[in-house]
């Protein structure tokens, strides 16, 4: 058992391949523009990745359990708008829990449909993407949301504050990552998620309540989205109602980059954090090089395809698919 099989070598290469490519990117970017690796810039990247990162943490749970969530972008818009709106109506102390409750309710609905009714998660969350988008538009009356008194509220601490010299968003991201990482790696719940995603049938045969596990993963995801919405709302104290649009793809890209398999059963919070950072630095690097934001789209596309392809190729031992 001491020799590595071809499969194992390929898989190691595939996983480390991404890190190798990332290091190569970083070096290239730094050479192209020394501003890239300055502490200020690094801090700025981590900080602006925090919101996406928080969302990616929740989606990691869903993906490990073997499902998808394409609704996180519009759900985040919903959370942001709702909390901004309620802030002026019932005060921040009440608005935050209220918004969380509403977002979790949406997550519960999705969890029910995918977990208990066993509907296809791609289509369900695609439908919810549109439904929640419509919900947000209706709620906001099509207008942007702004807090009336931007100076006088403590609400801004989540998005703009600093504690112990570190920006609060980063603290929230790291704290949540630590907490969720522990849950996933060290609790029975986490173990069950890996089982359900790795082999749902075997999980059931081992007495795991599969439906409930899937349901709870969507609740976790909604909780993370609500947190992200809070951070976003608090950061700009005003928002368009499409603020989260398209984020579901970036989140998915980060999760995939971090090495989680979209088939379920593998991945960790730590790897997702790495994926988030990789994505953030790549986007930042492109930006610093003067490339427009849409170049990021194309780069992300290539990255997603390559990452999933190499993962699948490593598993089957062949680069090209056996499809005739």
């Amino acid at each position: 058992m001491a020799t590595l099989t071809k499969h194992q070598i390929g898989s190691v290469l595939a996983k480390q391949g991404i890190l190798i490519a990332f290091v190569a990117f970083m070096i290239a970017f730094t050479i192209a523009n020394p501003k890239f690796l300055t502490p200020d810039n690094v801090l700025s990247v981590v900080r602006s990745s925090a919101i996406l990162g928080v969302m990616a943490l929740g989606v990691t749970f869903v993906v490990i359990s073997g499902n998808l969530d394409l609704s996180v972008g519009s759900m985040m818009s919903f959370s942001t708008i709702v909390v901004l709106d309620l802030h002026d109506k019932i005060g921040p102390a009440m608005a935050i829990p209220a918004m969380f409750a509403m977002t979790l309710a949406l997550g519960a609905l999705i969890g029910f449909l995918v977990g208990y009714l066993k509907l296809n998660s791609l289509i369900v969350t695609l439908g919810m993407l549109s439904a929640i988008h419509g919900l947000t538009l209706t709620y906001s009356g099509g207008k942007n949301m702004d807090i009336a008194d931007k100076e006088g509220t403590w609400f801004s601490v989540f998005g703009q504050g600093t504690a112990l010299g570190i920006p609060v968003p980063i603290l929230i991201f790291l704290a949540l990552a630590a907490f969720l990482g522990l849950v996933l790696a060290k609790t029975g719940f986490g173990r069950k998620i890996y089982a359900v995603g790795g082999n749902g049938t075997a999980a059931t045969f081992s007495g795991i309540r599969r439906a409930r596990t899937v349901f709870l993963c969507y609740i976790m995801s909604a909780g993370c989205v609500a947190t992200a919405g809070l951070m976003q709302a608090s950061r700009s104290l005003g928002s368009q109602n499409t603020v989260g649009q398209g984020l579901e793809l970036e989140v998915l890209a980060a999760v995939i980059l971090g090495g989680a398999s979209l088939l379920g059963g593998s991945g960790t919070v730590f790897k997702t954090v790495i994926g988030v950072l990789i994505l953030g630095f790549i986007q930042n690097g492109l930006l610093i090089m003067g490339l427009q934001f849409y170049v990021q789209f194309v780069v992300t596309w290539v990255i997603i395809i390559l990452a999933v392809w190499l993962d699948i190729a490593a598993k089957r031992g062949k680069l090209l698919s056996p499809i005739a």
Partner: protein, 501 residues
């Protein structure tokens, strides 16, 4: 003298650890129905896979006429006129009968259009030959299983078939449907096609076949003329070995009844099942694939709702609604498909083993990993599981060790009732006998054990009593003194004993 349609000579096929075919020779004459018999694991399906190009033989050759042929794959075999009717049907249910019969070979007109009239014509010719009740345009999904099988057979006839191989064709057929099938076979026979008929069902074999060849443990035992033989002698050929495994003699007291089943039924899958399992005994369930044994286990484990009947645990009637429920009531199931149902291959050994009790192994809010490892160590030693460490991915273990992980998983639950479905399928001989010993030890320790097995020596060796099933019903229950290989095989082949049950 006519040449055989097909001749296999000295076919050898080995897989890691096992010699599945050991110099098998076998031939089929045109216009004959030649039965291929043998116990489970005798090598029948491997031989057919070699013939069908799915496996390449490691030794020996296949002849058609005087030429050696190489079957590179299923399409090649078909091109040479060898056609399979498998047990699992392979049809596209949303397409019509005609489209299925000519799948991949639809007749064309210009611009890629389907030539429907030619298709209909060709299909109807075949359907007429088979004398079936449906027409070319019916959707396959709307047909009964028997008729779907007819469609598969019809597919066979698109080729100029020289040999047709039937693998357990009557498993899901009513008597009326069976006789239609036999008529079709008779027609094929009359056309000079050589037919290989794989089955365990003695009644049919003695009704429609001309010769019978028997395999045992990968070796060819001989061929007899059906007319000149009888069930007993064929059975003898199938099992006539020196059993190097002793029969079970129970030397301990039996406890109370842990599990009792009364009149349990589930639709077509099994009917009126009644039996009991006491502490300290192993009850073996023997029968063919499709006899309903696994379905009973699934019901006891909460995976399937029965349509009638009662289940009693320790004398109390219960309703088992889910596997979690079954586990809570002390029922453990080592399932048939260890990779698909028993293990999460991507997880490590320890995690797989502790999965059912993960909620109970707590240190505060976290999993008590020390306790987990202790459980793993305990059963690794008890069952002699070979793995460098508990961190090893279960998918990397050998079959035998994987099975031991599953068994360890369930033993660590200290179940009231332990159900083991195919304990040693696909496992090396060494691990096999370890597991058999283990099952007897469990009985001695007072466990109530149900074993489902398709291997005769296994079920004879480990069971105190044997329930023989056929087609969803219990044919007979034997004690270990009463059972012989002959009467067991007869029971599971559908033959009722002369006396009243």
């Amino acid at each position: 003298m006519t040449d055989p349609v097909l001749r296999l000579e000295g076919i050898v096929k080995t897989f890691p650890g096992v010699r599945a075919l050991d110099g098998v020779s076998f031939s089929v004459m045109p216009g004959e129905v030649h039965a291929l018999m043998g116990e489970n694991g005798a090598g029948k399906s491997t031989l057919m896979k070699v013939l069908g190009g799915i496996h390449q033989p490691d030794g020996g050759a296949i002849y058609m006429g005087n030429d050696v042929v190489v079957m590179a794959g299923p399409l090649e075999a078909k091109a040479k006129g060898i056609v399979f009717i498998h047990q699992e049907l392979s049809l596209a249910e949303e397409l019509s009968v005609a489209e299925n019969i000519y799948l991949g070979e639809l007749p064309r007109k210009s611009f890629g259009r389907v030539d429907w009239s030619t298709l209909a014509e060709k299909t109807n010719t075949i359907l007429k030959k088979l004398n079936v009740g449906f027409d070319a345009t019916t959707l396959v999904g709307d047909l009964s299983i028997a008729n779907q099988q007819m469609v598969e057979i019809a597919r066979a006839l698109t080729v100029d078939a020289r040999a047709v191989i039937f693998d357990e064709p009557t498993a899901s057929l009513t008597d009326a449907e069976k006789s239609v099938l036999f008529d079709v076979i008779a027609d094929l026979k009359a056309d000079g096609v050589g037919i290989i008929y794989i089955s365990h069902r003695m009644e049919e074999i003695f009704k429609i076949t001309d010769r019978i060849s028997v395999l045992r443990d990968g070796q060819y035992q001989g061929t007899v003329d059906t007319a000149a033989s009888n069930e007993e002698s064929v059975t003898q050929m199938m099992i006539g070995r020196k059993l190097d495994l002793s029969r079970t003699v129970s030397d301990h007291e039996l406890g109370e009844v842990a599990l009792e089943v009364r009149g349990l039924s589930c639709g077509d899958l099994y009917t009126d099942i009644s039996f009991e399992v006491r502490r300290g005994e192993v009850v073996g369930f023997y029968g063919l694939v499709g006899a309903g044994r696994t379905e009973i286990a699934e019901t006891l484990f909460g995976l399937r709702d029965p349509s009638a009947g009662k289940i009693l645990l320790n004398g109390e009637e219960v309703r088992i609604s889910s596997p979690a429920d079954a586990i809570a009531r002390g029922i453990s199931l080592v399932p048939e498909d260890r990779k698909g149902q028993g293990l999460v291959l991507g997880m490590n050994c320890r995690d797989n083993m502790t999965l059912p009790q993960i909620d109970d192994l707590k240190a505060g809010p976290f999993v008590a990993e020390g306790a987990e490892i202790a459980i793993f160590d305990q059963y690794r030693d008890r069952l002699d599981i070979r793995t460098p460490s508990w961190k090893q991915q279960v998918g990397n273990l050998s079959g035998g060790n994987q099975q031991k992980i599953v068994i360890g998983k369930w033993l660590s639950m200290h179940p009231n009732v332990l159900i083991v479905d195919e304990p040693t399928r696909g496992i090396d001989v060494g691990s096999k006998s370890e597991i058999h010993k283990l099952l007897r030890e469990l009985a001695a320790q007072g466990y109530a054990v149900m074993v489902i097995s398709s291997e005769m020596p296994e079920v004879l060796h480990v069971s105190d009593r044997i329930v023989a099933m056929y087609s969803g019903q219990i044919m007979r229950t034997f004690t270990s003194d009463e059972v012989t290989e002959e009467n067991l095989i007869q029971a599971i082949s559908g033959i009722t004993p002369g006396q009243a049950a």
